[in-house]
Amino acid sequence: MAQTQIRIGGFGGQGVILSGIIIGRAAAIHAGLNATLVQSFGPEARGSSSSAELIVSSEPIWYPYVKHLDMLVVLSQDAYNKFSPALRPRGLLVTEADLVKPEPPIPGARHFVVPATRLAEELGRKIVLNIISVGFFGAVSQLMPLEAIERAVKESVPPGTLDLNLKAFRKGWEAGEQALKQAPAMA
């Protein structure tokens, strides 16, 4: 497998870094791949936008930052505006349904919309929006098997919140599988 360059972006406080960590951990520890994750803070740590840059590969990874995105997950409009231009042609784009209006659109992107806010509200905790997105991304990206990511979720969330997060993950994954089925086949 060649390198896959991924970015997960959103507001500070949305937990996008944790999302990145889960995917990275899944890849690096449970899926036999290499993964390098770099966090970008805004110029200031506080309140501004935040994103995780993740490279997943079966080969060693040297240069640690993403340049041309193979996959992009955005949970805020700001992140969409900032990062979507770097998406490769036919790259995978996941946007949150309520928080992101994918405009201008990225022509040719494999675009999926995750209703993470809605699903999180169904679970009664808005905070799991990020884990739902991880599940969704896991399913649509087809980078790794569910089990790898699920184990990473278990290892990454506070013990007290495990059940909730696993539920959220599964919910996201299912929504992702659903979306994948409905998606038009890509060349």
Partner: protein, 384 residues
């Protein structure tokens, strides 16, 4: 001696460099850490604060870096392996105590997770601009050991190694990380305790009456005593004799400073730790370290793809600088290319040793890493 399993978090982990360095210290039986928070190094001590109460270590957040950097010396003489952790501005404040540790031959470890400078600079962004400070930042003459990891795995490995070197040579050892490796997460594999070889402290075997705390052994390193064991030794940052008593004579100074520098200079070959790739027969060798050593690789590969013979020489130990190696290489090649996240530091060492070979620095003010294309261009120009 094998590591104490209590501190060894055996297994594969997804960790950033800061956390990996913390685990390296724990595995190396570090059991005292004094620190003062500073971005981007704070995660090291935050994890220490979490882990130490569970493994019998003492962490104290001191009032400043001056205090942290000498509290560790106190702890070492009290019998512990000890370290402190900081970044540029704090490192500047620790300089007096780097020299104190050198002078009193106190084995200890300083981690500096480098960020953009000078001054407060770019607290959250990477640089490699404290490399010369690592060598020269304290007043007076000394030699130092400084390591440069290029991944979280190496943050573990080299922090572990730093403790061993500190004990072996009775010197402060500097782990010169950068914000990029410090905050980058990757797989870090921590071996089992039995696979981790600890260089034990060189406790004296002499009886209290016979013990000379600063009389060197054959390898120039004196054996150590620990407080509370009846040795009633003295140590001082003044120029001193073998008893550890102040001796402010020119002769004592000449003897002491020569030994302190020779401990490192005479062991430069043993201390050399480089990784080579394609260096033999190369026309150009890229000399690099830390995060830049990774960033250089795509550039090197691009050049190789177009037929250039480019070697990759990565310094894991930056100080002592592998002078002899560079001199040897110099005679056989056309140029060295030295990319660094600074305005030209280690490149000066290469220049010193390059003889007739060209030396091309690829400076960068920091805040991010090089664009590999820039390094590629420098390589191509270097052989033109």
């Amino acid at each position: 001696m094998h590591a104490d399993p209590a501190g060894v978090l055996t297994g594969a982990h997804f960790l950033d460099g800061d956390h990996a360095a913390c685990e390296g210290a724990l595995a190396a039986e570090c059991r005292f850490v004094a620190g003062y928070p500073i971005t981007p190094s704070t995660e090291v001590v935050e994890r220490i604060a979490q882990r130490f109460p569970l493994v019998g270590g003492v962490f104290i957040q001191m009032e400043d870096e001056l205090a942290s950097s000498i509290a560790i010396a106190g702890a070492v003489w009290g019998g512990k392996r000890a370290m402190t952790v900081t970044s540029g501005p704090g490192f500047s404040l620790m300089m007096e105590h780097v020299g104190f540790a050198v002078m009193t031959e106190t084995p200890c470890v300083f981690i500096n997770v480098q960020r953009g400078g000078p001054s407060t600079g770019l607290p959250t962004l990477p640089a490699q601009a404290d490399m010369m400070q690592a060598r020269w930042g304290s007043h007076g003459d000394y030699e130092i050991i400084a390591l440069s990891p290029n991944s979280p795995q190496e943050c573990f490995d080299l922090t572990f190694k730093a403790f061993n070197l500190a004990e072996q040579y009775r010197v402060p050892v500097l782990v010169m990380m950068d914000e990029c490796v410090g905050h980058m997460m990757e797989r870090v594999v921590i071996p089992r305790a039995e696979e981790l070889e600890i260089y034990p402290r060189r406790w004296t075997k002499a009886a209290p009456g016979e013990y000379l705390p600063f009389a060197p052994g054959e390898d120039l390193v004196p054996a150590m005593a620990r407080a509370g064991q009846g040795y009633r030794f003295h140590m001082t940052g003044l120029t001193h004799n073998e008893r550890g008593y102040p001796d402010m004579s020119v002769a004592a100074q000449a003897r002491l400073v020569a030994r302190l520098t020779d401990k490192i200079r005479k062991n430069a070959d043993a201390l050399q730790d480089v990784v080579e790739d394609g260096v033999d027969g190369a026309d150009v060798v890229v000399v690099c370290y830390g995060i830049t050593s990774r960033v250089a690789l795509p550039a090197i590969e691009a050049c190789r793809a177009s037929g250039l013979k480019v070697g990759w020489l990565r310094l894991r130990t930056v100080w002592p600088f592998p002078e002899r190696l560079i001199r040897d290489l110099a005679s056989g090649l056309r140029a060295f290319v030295v990319p660094e996240l600074n305005m030209g530091q280690i490149v000066r060492e290469v220049e010193r040793c390059a003889g007739a070979a060209r030396v091309v620095g690829v400076p960068h003010a920091g805040g991010t890493v090089h664009d590999p294309a820039v390094i590629e261009r420098a390589i191509r120009e270097a052989v033109r």
